[in-house]
Symmetry: C2
Subunit: 219 residues, 2 copies
């Protein structure tokens, strides 16, 4: 039927869904090319290597998402007074959900890919994102620091990574978690619901007062 879709796109589409499902390491080129109904060698012909294919899959989302986030961060930075942390975090919601227009289950897929990328191929994705979108991320860190003047820089660093962990881990296993929530609480959960649950959680977490050092009741 849709045989006139270019091979590159068919590969990207097949790859992203398999990657999101099973991770990068556990998805072989043969699985991808079979699902895409293209020849095995075409991945290397069009993308060079599996590693570059992974980057291409992520880039399709990042190049849409990151400029929008950058714009939002600029908008918040322009306001005089420091912004509320919940406000800052809420900025992610619309750009993320808009990924559903890019692809059928775009938001979920992208966040799963992000999760896979951070856990599967140790460090590669972190380097890649920082290399390409470091400027944008710096704006976000600055916003958080402005909204939490009581926190030292290093504390913000750690807490943002703790937060990244919540997001990435939750999304990587979102299918399993949704199933459990469905079974245990008879509660249908979509990706938007999870995102909205995360915001007050992360907001309170990042802005939490620091641990009083002298309270060494243990150890």
């Amino acid at each position: 039927m849709s045989s006139k879709v270019h091979t590159q796109q068919r590969i990207l589409d097949a790859a992203q869904s398999l990657f999101a499902e099973s991770g990068f390491n556990d998805t072989s080129l043969r699985q991808i090319t079979t699902k895409a109904e293209v020849n095995l060698a075409s991945v290397n012909y069009h993308f060079g290597s599996k590693k570059e294919l992974i980057q291409a899959v992520l880039q399709r989302y990042l190049q849409v998402l990151m400029p929008r986030l950058d714009q939002e961060f600029d908008r918040l930075l322009a306001s005089q007074k420091p912004n509320d942390l919940t406000q800052i975090l809420s900025v992610f919601v619309k750009p993320l959900l808009d990924l559903n227009q890019l692809q059928r289950r775009g938001t979920r897929t992208f966040l799963q890919l992000l999760g896979r990328g951070y856990t599967d191929v140790q460090g590669h994705l972190r380097w890649f994102i920082n290399q390409h979108y470091g400027r944008t991320l710096d704006k976000f860190v600055l916003l958080v620091q402005q909204s939490c003047p009581h926190l030292p820089q290093s504390e913000v660093f750690w807490r943002l990574h703790f937060s990244l962990g919540s997001i990435v881990f939750t999304m990587a296993s979102s299918d399993a978690l949704s199933e459990i929530a469905q079974a245990d609480f008879n509660e249908a959960v979509d990706i938007e619901g999870v995102i909205r649950r995360l915001i007050p959680y992360l907001g309170a977490a990042i802005a939490a007062p620091v641990y009083s050092q002298d309270l060494k009741t243990v150890a």
Copy 2:
């Protein structure tokens, strides 16, 4: 030198450090047996399969850690009034740090393994832990629910998984994060420091007020 140490232990020791470093999927039996200086076939002889080896590695820690946690949970449950959330979370600190007596860098290794287990082999570890230590975990959930009576059960469920994500993700990439923290803030970070940073963060996060549903400024 220490050639009279039983083969099983040598395999477990080599496996756990390689697993913690590179994950389960990216560590081959040949790497393990080379490092342990034993024959390749001995893994299958002593443990049956790679999967069972992974479980054995985790079990060595879990069978020490979980009973202690169980005891602590019982102690807290015995007190009449609901416990402070920070108190509940602090209960993890000592048992976790005591793993350093079991093995040289026991705490770090175990937490890294936990991280790997939850992200690498999707679902297997979750099932395994729940199967063996579900009772203990239920006590913990109960304690959290008692300390947060304003939260519906499903909210506690999600927030505990968000928290698990922070821990697991942070530990899986703790080496990389420590390096960055060292470089950017000239701040030496050990595993205990990370744990102590996590407690106020998670405490505030889990107990955060729920999102006011009608605040739909976005979407």
